[in-house]
Symmetry: C2
Subunit: 317 residues, 2 copies
């Protein structure tokens, strides 16, 4: 295989914007426009933990960048730059790296973000990926987790449970549906929606750990509670059919995670604005509940009985 | 062991500045002062590649942060924030995390940098660490690799070869000297010096891959060559004694890496300014060569005979 410096030049330099200085310096130099702040997020993606390892490298790259873009979307940020740390087994074929870079390219282009730097190293185990992504917001404009107010409505974008049921399909525990597996492997971060929600949403998070967990984070940070109506949760046709056949699959919808939709709160006075945003962004927005006094978030059925209380999502330790 | 969220609250939140939002949001929100740019660097540190694994966790943390601070120093940046990604085997004891956080604290305080976010995940192999560090420079003030001019002098800070011989000691290939092992395990990034070199150095890099490799990067980026006099290379007493006994150890001095000194070029007219900077920063600065036309950097002995030509440093693949 070509040397480290050749690989960087061949596969990663074409992904870099001018701030990356050709990926030939020790650091990148970024300008933040006057009147703007920088929003920064960082995620580690580990083989055997976040992915199996036999996925196409392009899909691994897409997902690694997409989950960071999703964090930026939840903050209302306009994505600008990202940095990649790639730790790779010594025997990794050059074709893997080429495919990986192609996946980054496919994901960066529609969302207007460019590579600005990074680091490549050998690994003694599997692949570990670290992405740091940055975006800008007008100063003071970042949507936080802590802004939900009692009486606000709770909304979620798109549909829920697709990715969690897609995982079961990848694991052979359900018959495969291409659409759901794709939702799991190549999630679409809600970048345009997140920016449109600045000044409209009072709090926002992306659904990475699961709806109740992520809404629970909003409740905890905002010192409020939330009630979510199970019957209002937006389902794709495929997921609706599956939970219709087997109600044991319902937790995949409200606690499954990996959908990378946005869950957010907004004052009822913004309902009209949200209808327009849904049309402009081409994304379904569904009102699923309300913000209440008290802690935690509670999922209730159509009779008002508690189905599940919010709990922390996946914990690594 | 406590859960992931508890561990973050207990050990990492105390390291965070206000921009980290209590490490409870999806992202950090940073302000870059008007008239300044943001300098960003990222390094991955992998168990079994960059460290053995049986080092004290505090030393691993120190080095991981220090090498990023060294990259910022080489660019003349004032360090402000860093992000940590930590991938950890499931059985890792909480005491390891506590010690790791203590090492970060010890390193962040003298250099005025604060934690702003990150990610913790399980690993299936050993520990992998990813640090992204940021600093600011006045707009246009970043020292680049590509600014060396023919006729400039070449300088290096501190002494060379300590860390590379420290590695041999850790490996049991040389009798141990506490000072050299410490230089390898707990390098001191030249943060104040780097900032003082803004507007004085024409190009700069930190000595991570080895003097000739890192100066070679400057030469390549600047489209110049360099001649370095072996007899002028600054040595600690311990290293001078070792290479005096065994001249086979000389490559550790000029090609060994891990010293995290700064190698830089400057116009001869800045010699006086550099003398004052050395005093102000309390760092020895040594003129070790000159920038010439032509490519590559060449180490010559006192008779002018070529000892070694610059080559690329450690390559991971």
């Amino acid at each position: 295989m070509a040397g480290e410096f050749d690989l960087i030049a061949r596969y990663f330099r074409p992904l870099a914007g001018p701030e990356g200085l050709g990926l030939a310096d020790d650091a990148a130099c970024l300008t933040v426009p006057d009147g703007h702040e920088l929003v920064v997020t960082k995620d580690l993606i580990v083989e055997g933990v976040h992915f199996v390892g036999d996925e196409p490298a392009a899909d691994i790259a897409w997902k690694a960048l997409a989950v960071n873009l999703s964090d930026l979307a939840a903050k209302g940020a306009n994505p600008t730059h990202y940095f990649v740390g790639l730790s790779l087994p010594k025997g990794a074929p050059e074709a893997w790296i080429a495919d990986f870079a192609a996946g980054l390219k496919a994901c960066q282009e529609p969302f207007g973000i460019q590579l600005a730097g990074g680091d490549t190293t050998a690994s003694t185990g599997g692949v570990t990926l670290s992405i740091t992504a940055m975006g800008t917001v007008p100063s003071g404009g970042m949507i936080r987790r802590g802004g939900a107010q009692v009486g606000d409505d709770v909304y979620v974008s798109g549909t829920l449970g697709d990715a969690a049921l897609g995982v079961k399909m990848v694991q052979g525990r359900l018959d495969a549906s291409e659409g759901l597996v794709r939702r799991y492997r190549k999630p679409t971060p809600r970048v345009a929606l997140g920016q449109a929600l600045r000044g409209v949403a009072s709090a926002c998070a992306d659904v990475s750990d699961g709806l109740l967990a992520d809404l629970g984070h909003i409740c905890a940070a905002s010192a409020v509670g939330a009630r979510v109506d199970q019957s209002s949760l937006p389902l794709s046709e495929a997921v609706a059919a599956l939970v219709g056949q087997d109600s044991e699959l319902w937790p995949s919808v409200y606690a499954g995670g990996d959908d990378y939709e946005l869950v957010f709160t907004a004052s009822a006075s913004n309902a009209g604005a949200l209808e327009r945003i849904a049309v402009d962004c081409g994304v379904q927005l569904t009102r699923i509940g309300v913000v209440e006094q008290g802690g935690g978030c509670h999922l209730v059925d159509s009779s008002g009985n508690l189905v599940q209380s919010g709990q922390q999502g996946y914990q690594h330790f």
